[in-house]
Symmetry: C2
Subunit: 116 residues, 2 copies
Amino acid sequence: MSDHFIAPVAAHEPPYYAVVFTSVRTEGGNGYGETAERMEELVKDVPGYLGMDHAGTPGGLSVTVGYFRDEVAIKEWGAQVEHRAAQQRGRAEWYERYTLHVAKVERSHGFERERG
Amino acid sequence: MSDHFIAPVAAHEPPYYAVVFTSVRTEGGNGYGETAERMEELVKDVPGYLGMDHAGTPGGLSVTVGYFRDEVAIKEWGAQVEHRAAQQRGRAEWYERYTLHVAKVERSHGFERERG
């Protein structure tokens, strides 16, 4: 259990974009963890970045969803130099397979349990 | 490690929809697992259902992405009687908080490592 407060990214006012990245990793680390942490920090510098949700089933699928205000923000992140290098290493070393879906959010809502 | 082949849902021909459900659970099971399995089976009966990706970090966030051909399919699944009952139980018992994003996929692609 992580010691920080765990919460999914909140519903933003549509339209905005959800970039869904689903992946299965190769065996072994090869620096993946450090790079993933670095990317999580770097993406925060992109104007229009709204947040990221990530979950990984041990030994199974990883699902990461990045939220962006518009296409400009997605393109800026996709073209970021360190991120491009990480994408190349991902295909060369880290990923067995992945799928990327770029999707425009039309509606969203959130739920939070009331405290008794 | 699961003993079946693990693969993310493949990129379909756009447009299609990705329904992103991110959640944090309450403590305790209360029948959640059985219902989740039942829902995974039931949704397959919905015309236009394309597949589902799920990952859950132990003690952390769960991310589920359901893929549907169109809005009609999403609405049919949302209104399905057993699914509606499960949604109500989710808010009453299983979820601490969640966010739902309904998004139209504009582009997608996949990668698969070549076998040496």
